[in-house]
Amino acid sequence: MSAKLELLIQNLRKHLGDRIAGLRTAFGEITLDVDAAAYPEAMRTLRDEPELRFEELSDLCGVDYSTYGNGRWQGKRFGVVLHLLSVTHNWRLRARCFADDDDFPAMPSVVSVWNSANWYEREAFDLFGIVFPGHADLRRLLSDYGFVGHAFRKDFPISGYVEMRYDPEQKRVVYQPVSIEPREITPRVVREENYGDVGNG
């Protein structure tokens, strides 16, 4: 691990203290887990503290862990993952926070901390149904006007529920139940570790 990452980890421990629910380094990147209760305050510290100084929110996205590892996942279902960038110190951080309620995932909004979170939170709401209390304008962003459901949840079929076509009799575009047969060409497989290594059969 580089000296820079060590320093960042030290600073994180110093300024976030017991608000850290998990801190892991893998592939040269740091992942910080935060509990939902501590989330907005921790994010504000990350931005304002001179020794951390994450001025920019590069990305915020939802993740649905319900089928992770083909059912191996034990934790909560919906996570929000933020990618932060500090231009001052030239380092990055991934912050992750899980929503407490799987049936009605909600997470405080961070638009007041980073204005760029505006559209990212709208997108996460649109695609995963994660609600962000405190967001002033939480409308759907990418899906069609009047779309039903949250398309990126793992239980939403890849072909969707409805399809659109032009109806010559009604002389307008209509929605109808989808006519695509679901198919899987390459099955999804999770192999055991060391699969295919020499000496492993």
């Binding site: 893998a26 592939f27 040269g28 990147e29 992942t31 001025e55 920019e56 929110l57 590069s58 990305d59 996205c61 993740v63 649905d64 992770y68 590892g69 083909n70 191996r72 993952v81 990618h83 231009v87 030239n90 990055r92 991934r94 980073w114 204005n115 760029s116 505006n118 559209w119 759907r140 962003l141 990418l142 899906s143 069609d144 398309a151 990126f152 890849i158 899987e184 390459t186 999804r188 497989v189 999770v190 192999r191 570790e193 699969y195 295919g196």
Partner: protein
């Protein structure tokens, strides 16, 4: 006296100045904009969801369809992410080829910017000149990958194949014959690198020509100077990256600050602006084209001197050579497993970001150890820039909206994904 109310105007989605399918709902006070509400998603194809059902290799061509004016850079970010999860080493020659094509792509994207921005603002001829030069660079794409746009040239572990020794030539026809045909084929008589060298020799002069047309053009300046200005602090707060930051004076370039591939071995400068308005963004892009030409020149020199492999020989990741497969059982098994089941990527999550022509392009992948991505999130620069449009256009006239949208250089393939 009748009360004066704000007027709401619908702009797009089918409008050439929206650079794709953007619907803008503008709230106007007279001709001054008080609020802009971009409606996006008209090109939403759910790329990120689709690749969850595709193997790691099948997901790669989807990256081309994001920013379709800078296809190869998108592939680069995806390949870097997968390679980091796999821990596979990329041959140095492949990294030089990647950098060279990244810079070709940057020029392609910026040329399109100059052309279309010219069209938006009223300089019709720019598009014709820009497309003339784009033609040569798209021929480079075609020569290495067989495709002019959706190349799928980068692969996890390297690039698909080495640079070709010969360029395709124009054939004699009713329109191309005699001396003209000879002149057209002159640069194409050598190898791929000779053709690119010829372009690199010509291009700085061509950029000078563009600048004589635009940089001091009175109309161009009147339309752009002071329009859509944004300070560096505000730009960071709004998630802006790339040219949007640099035009405001902050020399933030991932190629310098967090180098990937072989950018740390190359010599180039990072152009910055001062005012952060549309005109500075134009100047930064023009200067970036000059710097890209410099980088390409260095790559050409290195690639001429250093032959070698262009894709990893780890056959758990990269396909074995066709000839080996015919004679060797082991290679055949690898080929079968790679084509039927695909790469197995170790469990973990990675965010890889590159300096895309439009800004920071990031790919966040979560793998649970399967042969398909568990979750893939694409962080596109233009998405953040477009979300800042409301702030950029407030207080400007309707005509300035077109200039601002043109100068943030958006492509809907990557915004709607």
């Amino acid at each position: 006296m009748a009360s004066i109310q704000n007027y709401t105007l619908n702009f797009g989605p089918q409008h050439p100045a929206t650079h794709g399918v953007l619907r803008l709902v503008l709230e106007l006070d007279g001709e001054v904009i008080t609020r802009a509400d971009p409606h996006i998603g008209l090109l939403h194809r759910a790329t990120e969801k689709l690749v969850e059902t595709k193997t790691w290799a099948q997901a790669l061509p989807y990256m081309d369809r994001l920013d379709y004016l800078a296809t190869i850079c998108n592939e680069h970010a995806y390949c870097l992410a997968v390679e980091r999860l796999l821990g596979v080493d990329v041959p140095v020659r492949a990294q030089y080829i990647r950098v060279m094509f990244d810079e070709i792509t940057r020029i392609l994207s910026h040329l399109m910017f100059i052309g279309s921005h010219g069209l938006d603002v009223g300089a019709m001829s720019m598009m014709l000149y820009a497309c003339r030069e784009r033609e040569d660079l798209l021929d480079c794409y075609e020569a290495v990958s067989g495709s002019r746009w959706h190349t799928a040239y980068y692969r996890p572990g390297g690039v698909y194949r080495d640079l070709p020794d010969a360029m395709p030539q124009y054939k004699e026809s009713k329109w191309k014959n005699g001396a003209r045909l000879k002149r057209l084929n002159e640069a194409r008589s050598g190898s791929f690198l000779d053709f690119l060298q010829d372009f690199v020799n010509r291009f700085p002069k061509i950029i000078d020509d563009y600048e004589t047309l635009l940089t001091d053009n009175r109309i161009w300046k009147q339309r752009l100077i002071g329009v859509g200005a944004i300070s560096s602090e505000r730009a960071l707060q709004l998630g802006c990256t790339g040219v949007m930051l640099r035009a405001g004076g902050l020399a933030w370039d991932l190629r310098k600050k967090q180098p990937y591939a072989v950018y740390d071995r190359l010599d180039f400068d990072v152009p910055v602006g001062t005012a952060g308005d549309c005109y500075d963004r134009y100047l930064v892009r023009v200067n970036e084209m000059r710097q890209s030409t410099r980088i390409i020149q260095q790559c050409i020199d290195w690639l001429r001197a250093n032959p070698g492999p262009v894709i990893s020989d780890n056959h758990k990741v990269a396909l074995p050579r066709r000839a080996d497969m015919r004679s060797n059982m082991e290679e055949l098994i690898h080929h079968f497993k790679l084509c039927s089941e695909g790469i197995h990527v170790p469990e973990g999550q990675v965010y890889s970001a590159i300096e895309h022509p439009k800004g920071e392009f990031g790919v966040y992948v979560v793998s649970d150890g399967a042969n398909k991505p568990y979750r893939l999130k694409i962080r596109s620069a233009a998405y953040a820039h477009l979300s800042a449009v409301d702030e950029l256009v407030r207080g400007h006239m309707i005509a300035d909206v077109v200039a601002i949208i043109g100068s943030i250089d958006i492509v809907f393939g990557e915004i709607d994904r």
